[in-house]
């Protein structure tokens, strides 16, 4: 079997390229196949369509993995750059292009998360609090910000599982394959992550006592 081009085989996450899960993805119909072929031929309309289709997905993935908008933009841009380089030599049928692109973006996120651990920073990636306001739009934004903070506070693997399954809407097989874990392990990570989120965000549930923002800090 040929390789599903991993950008840097010598890195720790390169072991993902040798997973048996990849075989299960083989011969799966790829909705991006025709688009990738046209991108590889330099078709401008296909390039624009690929940007419209994949850039929001990669940005959302990186934003939720890293919790930092600027870093997320860098990761999304780099992932698409690698897609441009890969498209002309993409071999259909070995893996879904979207799954490959997720793997590239995840590896870029792992790199940045690892660097953060090596060089601790005092800057919090949290979004700033907008403060109390009666406006419904602002309240929705506040709610979203609280969820994002709770998500970023999860252990990395739990966050990754939730991001891939819930937000990126990958199948459990695809997500488990990307994370190099069994389906059972993925379900365990999902359950623990969602339980922690539910506890953290319990004050948002209908009928719950309103939380005093900042009390958790």
């Amino acid at each position: 079997m040929g390789t599903v081009a991993l950008p840097w085989p010598s890195r720790p996450f390169a072991r993902l390229s040798a997973r048996p899960e990849r075989d299960r993805l083989a011969s799966v119909a790829d909705p991006d196949e025709e688009l990738v072929r046209r991108v590889g031929q330099g078709d401008p309309a296909a390039i624009q369509a690929m940007v419209a289709r994949k850039l929001p997905r990669m940005l959302a993935l990186a934003q939720r993995m890293l919790g930092d908008p600027a870093e997320a933009e860098d990761v999304a841009q780099e992932a698409l750059l690698r897609a441009w380089k890969q498209a002309p030599r993409w071999t259909p049928g070995k893996a879904k292009f979207d799954t490959w692109l997720h793997r590239v973006a995840l590896n870029l996120c792992y790199d940045r998360l690892r660097r953060r651990r090596e060089v601790p920073t005092e800057i919090s990636p949290d979004r700033p609090d907008e403060g109390p306001a009666p406006d419904r739009g602002i309240m929705t934004a506040q709610l979203g910000a609280q969820v994002d903070r709770a998500l970023v506070a999860l252990p990395q693997r739990q966050r990754e599982a939730i991001v891939l399954c819930h937000y990126q809407e990958l199948t459990n097989i695809e997500a488990a394959g990307l994370m190099s874990v069994s389906i059972e392990a993925l379900e365990s990570l999902l359950s623990r992550g969602r339980r922690t989120l539910r506890q953290t965000l319990a004050h948002l549930a209908p009928g719950a006592e309103p939380a005093v923002e900042g009390a958790r800090r």
């Binding site: 991108v39 590889g40 031929q41 330099g42 078709d43 401008p44 390039i47 624009q48 940007v51 850039l55 929001p56 940005l59 959302a60 934003q63 939720r64 908008p69 997320a72 933009e73 999304a76 841009q77 698409l80 750059l81 441009w84 380089k85 498209a87 002309p88 929705t140 934004a141 709610l143 979203g144 609280q146 969820v147 994002d148 998500l151 939730i162 399954c165 819930h166 937000y167 809407e169 199948t171 459990n172 097989i173 389906i183 993925l186 379900e187 365990s188 999902l190 359950s191 969602r194 339980r195 989120l197 539910r198 965000l201 948002l204 549930a205």
Partner: protein
């Protein structure tokens, strides 16, 4: 356990992992789960309640918007990666391949034709040699008596 191993515990496990919307569950369990939920609405409601609340919270997180600046940078990176339109013209590699294949086909045809021609000439030469030999033998007999 009932059909396909579904019961309140398994439904609860699936909901805890994948959320309260069966459409987001693994395809392999969806039909069995739906059937169980339809026949056990009270137990299902209990098993799915927490998961649906967590789903609602997760959906409150908005997807980040792609800025025009980022979009332009990504499109520019496609140009930088040398992905340019080549519509209507085969690539250089393709042209080289076609040229090489044509040359190889011509060479093969030449070899086959040459082999056939050689065989034909050899056979002709052999026949001539036999005839010469026969003539020579006849002459010798006649001369020598």
């Amino acid at each position: 356990m009932t059909r396909e191993g579904m019961d309140e515990t398994r439904i609860g496990e699936l909901a805890a992992a994948y959320g309260g919307d069966v459409r987001r569950w693994p395809e392999s369990v969806r039909d069995a789960a739906r059937a169980w939920i339809e026949t056990h609405p009270l137990e299902a409601g209990r098993a799915l309640f927490d998961a649906r609340q967590t789903d609602a919270a997760l959906f409150a997180s908005p997807n980040p918007a792609v800025s025009m600046d980022l979009r332009d940078r990504v499109l520019a990176s496609a140009l930088a990666a040398n992905l340019k339109a080549r519509a209507g013209w085969p690539s250089l590699r393709k042209l080289l391949w076609i040229g090489g294949a044509s040359w190889a086909a011509a060479a093969c045809a030449g070899v086959v034709y040459g082999a056939n021609l050689g065989g034909h000439l050899a056979a002709q030469s052999q026949a001539d040699a036999v005839l010469d030999q026969a003539m020579l033998s006849f002459d010798e007999t006649e001369v020598l008596g």
